[in-house]
Amino acid sequence: MRHAFGTVFRKELIDNLRDRRTLLTVLVFGPLFGPVFYAVMMNTIVNKQIGNLDQPLKLPVRGASYAPNLVSYLQQNNTVIEAAPADPRQAVKAGKADVVLVIPREYAEAFRAGKPAPVELVMDASQEAAGKNINRTRTLLQNYGREIAALRLLARGVDPRAIAPLAIEDVDVSTPQSRAVLVLGMVPYFFLFAAIIGAFYLAIDTTAGERERGSLEPLLTTAVPRGTLVAGKLAAVSFYSAVSLALDILALYWCQGLFPAAKLGIAVNFDLPAALAAFLVMVPFCLFIAALLAVVASFTRSYKEAQTWLSFIFILPLIPVLALLLFPAQPALWMMLVPAMSQDVLMTALIKGQELSGGFVAVSVVVTLAAGLLLARLAAWLYRREKILG
């Protein structure tokens, strides 16, 4: 019954091509959600992190007259001193200032006496956006303190190096690509997302939708083995999933110029061979997800119910992605045995610019395909039960 397989496959392709919602998700929403979301997010991050490094730090200072030396040190170090708001705490709480430096009257006296001179940094540690300016201010104050300490030691005839027993030097071995992972860590999820959403509506339409319309019963009275019917349907669902995935990869490939990655000092390795490798690594997942969705959908009674249950599937691949973001680990063989996780790990390595291990890729492809085929057999078995008619 090979011709029947082709007949079912073709019919589902054409039938769903006429459904505007399916088409929109497969061709537009699925493929573009990731890259667009990404372009917006990256640009925002970059503007926050880099944009203001070169700019002078605007620092409201209260009681500047008590510490003219400190103030002129700040000014020499790219800081613009502003008048402090009347109530610094309130101003910071309201987000009107990132940080306010308050120099109390006692400062001058303590400084002159050689005791620790109090200064207050009024800030809101929960304001992530203010963190950069808080750190800049703190670093400036610490540097000033160190300079003064050295001068005081010299005045007492002590080598200032005595209070610097450690000489710490940062040696950053991260390559631009590995830094990219911090920023691009979600990209594998977007690929998974595109594959899932490409399969989503088709999986429902060809299973629960078919039952709800009443077309399943006549279909089951044709002289086609049910396994062949299921195979044709799954092939169509996988195909749509793969189309959505391919478009997503192409979109990322074409749009990468829009990402201000270089400004962050990271290199995105996504040339044509990498894009092709991404597709080959990801495409077994399309069969897997199609079969998984079909199995879940065959337990549901209506289109609506199927939609609800299948929505949970969106969260599933997010679990390994989040786990790897929270607990970064080197790729390991066991990860290749988990569909979604293996693709995530391999995609991450690909973006990092690491050499993909052929063995790992092979295990991922074989295991994911095998799991997909197993689920497909399960779906076929579910379709042989008479309960399938609901």
């Binding site: 007949t7 769903n16 006429r18 319309r213 009443g214 077309s215 399943l216 006549p218 002289a223 008479e386």
Partner: protein, 244 residues
Amino acid sequence: MIQVTGISKRFGAVQAVEAVSFSAPDGRITGLLGANGAGKSTTLRIISTVLKPDSGTVTVDGADTLAAGDAVRLRLGVLPHASGLYPRLTARENIRYFGELNGLAGAALQQRLDQLIALLEISEFAERPAKGFSQGQRIKVALARALVHAPRNIVLDEPTNGLDVMATRVLRTLIRGLRDQGHCILFSSHVMQEVAALCDDIVIIAHGRIVARGTPDEIRRQSGETDLEEAFVKAVDAAPGAAP
């Protein structure tokens, strides 16, 4: 020729069909008559192989539904209770899909499509998507779909449901035509007049059991009633499991 022998089917606590036996010979119209919930649809679904009987056997032209499902399905054209067309496909595409599934292809399929579209007067809406079809149009397309592979045996589950007078007359003429060509036709209905007007043989089913069967004359004679409707009521009331 459809031969049903002692089939029973239970859904949970409900005995839908119990020890049902009858035969629907070629060249005759057999009507399965019963109230809603009497077990008509279950019986027809067992015949069309989408349900399996708990016990008993069904053969279609000698092929067993359990042992040779594919062979049975090739010999059977089924119009299920819900017409179940694909709304985004046109009438012609709906029919063609089932033709291809049942092994037709090329010029033979094309010819068969044109023939059915003419026979069932579908041409006016043949190229329109099924989404906006009237009930009558839907039944016609679903019937064409059931007939596309020229099956010897035709099973119709309440085919005249929701049809207007004209459409019903067209359908009756068509069913008689198929009978005269030698097809075996089994159809279910809960409408007495429907069965009386069309059927050569009547099988009355109540509470999942056969309570009477034969030609309309035989059924009238068995019950001692001159009116078929009275005969039907009498047969159903006498059935075991009837409400006291």
